[in-house]
């Protein structure tokens, strides 16, 4: 997909004036946070589980190579194949190669953000393989030639009217705005695709080292049909999703659904372990796991390592007031919200994504709700540090901070600066006590008044009283 992270501010401007999007974002705000809070209230040990999950993830990341190799050995022992892909390009080629071996015309897909990250659909299409998204949200987006705006609810930026219109256009059926009718329509369309597909591609929520299994957590059941019906199942997963044991997996499952949608458990939690055995009633004949690195191993051992704890629950964006104002597509690439503001610079370069880690007030809400306690504000600040080091900070901001710091490091001069600014603002504020328009402060006064100082600076008054 086209990267527009450099246009974050322009995207935000459009988003803020898009009444339909704002309605959709209002629904998100009214939905997920409340449901999460209610689910957590029913689980008194939630915070203790978060601590455990954080510690376990830290342990896994310290031994990532070990657990990934154990995972590979067990996938192989079960008759499957693991493919190690350093880059997005490697992963795309590997997946296409498997599809070609099967002479695949169409592939069905379960919801997978990693396949968005490696831009798989565009690549498959360009190479004569038709991908069919089967998650309802992703299916709608594919019809509209659109991209996810949220990692759990990809079509959250759309309204019912949008969906009705897209279905009417592509399904050649009478237009309906009844969700039940639309759902049935999608089912009928997709059933044919499930049966016809040569290959099924899913993501994975976790990879289990001790058994060589992968698991998907979904609410629609489309993932199960995607992975059981075709002859070949390809699991595409990033490397940090490995956990040591099934028992460990359950810890994360308890956190994941509650943090994401406020459910105690997702409706379908389906494990895949190798291809179909002779005693199995169904399942694929071939089982492949494509492990995607794409910059992640470079994060290990750095301050960004903590980001690899992420289990993709979306709580950070569901609670972020900036995401809530502008929506996911404003961020201009695959991963939006606070987690995206940390990951995107790593994957597309800080020079292309610097506006993202700056688009935060550091209110800390994201860290407060993160099930694995990722210090997201700290990691966004890490990218601001990198920007500053590389002289990528916009010139006006850099020189502004420079001049200000020159004074802040010299107390006597700083007093003088404070007194002069104070006097100036008092003069322009006059008797009104506030200013409506201030030169060079349009960012403030275009939208708000500037309260004027109520008197001389405190330091002046304090000296005078002594």
């Amino acid at each position: 997909m086209e990267v527009t992270s450099q246009d974050f501010k322009k995207n935000a401007h459009i988003a803020l004036h898009d009444a339909k999007l704002q309605r959709a974002l209002g629904n998100l705000k009214a939905g997920f946070p409340g449901k999460r809070a209610a689910a957590i209230a029913r689980l008194p040990e939630f915070d203790a589980l978060r601590d455990q999950a954080r510690d376990l993830k830290n342990h896994i990341l310290a031994h990532l190579d070990l657990y990934l190799e154990e995972f590979e050995n067990n996938v192989t022992a079960q008759g499957g194949t693991v493919h190690w892909c350093r880059t997005a390009e490697d992963a795309r080629k590997t997946i296409l190669e498997i599809c070609r071996q099967q002479d695949a015309k169409t592939v069905t897909k379960g919801k997978s953000m990693v396949t968005e990250e490696i831009a798989l659909n565009e690549y498959l299409e360009a190479n004569g393989v038709t991908p069919v998204e089967t998650d309802l949200g992703e299916y709608i987006l594919q019809l509209r030639n659109d991209h996810p705006s949220h990692i759990v609810a990809p079509a959250i930026h759309l309204t019912l009217e949008d969906v009705a219109e897209a279905f009417h256009e592509h399904h050649q059926r009478p237009k309906s705005d009844d969700p039940a009718v639309l759902m049935q329509e999608a089912r009928e369309m997709l059933r044919k695709q499930f049966v016809a597909a040569d290959v099924g591609i899913t993501g994975a929520n976790f990879l289990i080292a001790e058994t060589g299994s992968t698991i998907i957590c979904t609410n629609e059941g489309n993932g199960d049909l995607t992975q059981t019906l075709p002859k070949t199942h390809i699991v595409v997963s990033s490397i940090e999703k490995v956990v040591p044991t099934l028992e460990d997996m359950t810890l994360f499952l308890r956190l994941l659904a509650r943090s994401a949608t406020g459910q105690e458990f997702t409706v379908y939690n389906t494990l895949s372990t190798g291809p179909r055995r002779t005693t199995d009633q169904d399942g694929p004949e071939n089982f492949h796991v494509v492990l995607v690195d794409n910059g992640r191993s470079d994060m290990v051992g750095t301050e960004l390592q903590e980001m690899l704890r992420c289990i993709r629950c979306s709580a950070c964006m569901n609670h972020c007031p900036v995401y809530g104002a502008v929506g996911g597509q404003t961020y201009g690439w695959v991963y939006p919200g606070p987690m995206g503001s940390v990951l995107t610079p790593q994957m597309i370069g800080i020079e292309n994504a610097g506006l993202l880690p700056n688009a935060s007030t550091f209110c800390g809400k994201c860290e407060e709700v993160c099930p694995v306690r990722i210090p997201l504000p700290k990691l966004m600040r890490h990218w601001r540090d990198k920007e500053w080091e590389k002289h990528l900070t916009p010139g006006a901001a850099r020189s502004g901070i420079g001049i200000w710091a020159f004074f802040a490091k010299r107390p006597a001069l700083y007093r003088w600066l404070a007194q002069s600014s104070n006097l100036f603002l008092r003069l322009v504020g006059g008797k009104r006590g506030r200013v409506r328009k201030l030169p060079l402060a349009g960012g403030w006064t275009d939208y708000r008044d500037m309260p004027a100082p109520s008197g001389k600076t405190f330091m002046q008054q304090w000296q005078e009283r002594k």
Binding site: K9, A12, H13, P321, V322, A325, N358, A359, S360, T361, F362, C363, G364, K365, R381, R384, D385, K386, E387, W388, E389, T393, A397, I401, G402, W404, A405, F407, A408, K409, R410, P411, A418, S421, N422, L425, K431, R432, G433, R434, A441, G442, G443, W444, D446, Y447, R448, D449, M450, P451, A452, P453, S454, G455, K456, T457, F458, M459, Q461, W462
Partner: protein, 255 residues
């Protein structure tokens, strides 16, 4: 005879110094009421947060060293802002653990308190009295709330004043959109956030907005005034210190 009263260094904060001296005077009054000797070190300037949040670690560290030195020797450092005191708590991150400044920063952190949390620990609350009377709503500033755990403290203090009736707003814990330089770097998004906040403030029917951070207050007052919403705003210490005769933030003089 030696003075038995423990010494507090007041961290004035830039915004109190420049925009709202009453906040610093109210802080002094309350700290004295709690039995402390209050001094205002002259070498203090800003906590350094604008540099820290812009990625300028070198200047942040220099300002941190200056602040650490300015407050050397005080038993406590207290300031009327969760954001600025929160920044003092970040100082250890600016120095490698092997650097002696790291230890000094940790030591400052252990002595540095936001004022309402400090008063909740040290003030005999029966001593509080205020002529203030009215319906107030309280905005929880993000840094104080999430970095320093300040939520109950100002409410407990206010509950000791019979004239104060608290009407909580929806989303009291949601950011007002100030965010330091954020509000001028992303003005449209900031405006949306403070717009939501002023809607929530108006919906309470309160006549006074209180908070513990002047950054948030200036932002919210600016928006309330621009929208013509008749809600007055003060820093919580002004009410606690019974210093409510002066015009509220951004109000005309002599009204």
């Amino acid at each position: 005879m030696a003075n038995p009263r423990p010494r507090v260094g007041l961290f004035v904060t830039c915004l109190a110094d420049m925009f709202r001296p009453e906040v610093a005077f109210a802080s002094v009054k309350l700290l004295e009421l709690a039995g402390f000797e209050v001094e205002v070190p002259e070498r203090q300037t800003c906590c350094g947060q604008p540099a820290f949040n812009s990625g300028d670690r070198k200047d942040s560290a220099a300002i941190a060293q200056q602040t650490i030195e300015a407050f050397d020797g005080f038993e406590y450092v207290v300031g009327p802002s969760g954001s600025c005191i929160g920044m003092l708590h970040h100082y250890p991150e600016l120095f490698a653990e092997s650097d002696p400044w790291h230890q000094r920063a940790l030591e400052l952190k252990s002595r540095a308190f936001e004022i309402t949390s400090f008063l909740a620990l040290h003030l005999d609350m029966d001593k509080l009295s205020s002529s203030f009377s009215g319906k107030v709503t309280y905005h929880d500033s993000c840094s104080g709330l999430r970095e320093l755990g300040i939520k109950k403290q100002p409410r407990v203090l206010l509950s000791k004043l019979p004239g104060v009736q608290i009407c909580e707003m929806e989303e009291a814990e949601t950011c007002c959109g100030f965010g330091g330089t954020f509000c001028v770097k992303y003005p449209e998004i900031s405006n949306r956030m403070v717009g939501n906040k002023s809607d929530n403030i108006r919906a309470t029917g309160a006549d006074t907005l209180l908070a513990g951070d002047l950054g948030c207050l200036l932002n919210m007052v600016g928006k309330l005034k621009r929208e013509g919403i008749e809600v007055q705003a003060r820093h919580v210490v002004e009410v606690l210190a019974d210093m409510v005769d002066t015009p509220a933030i951004g109000e005309a003089k002599g009204v």
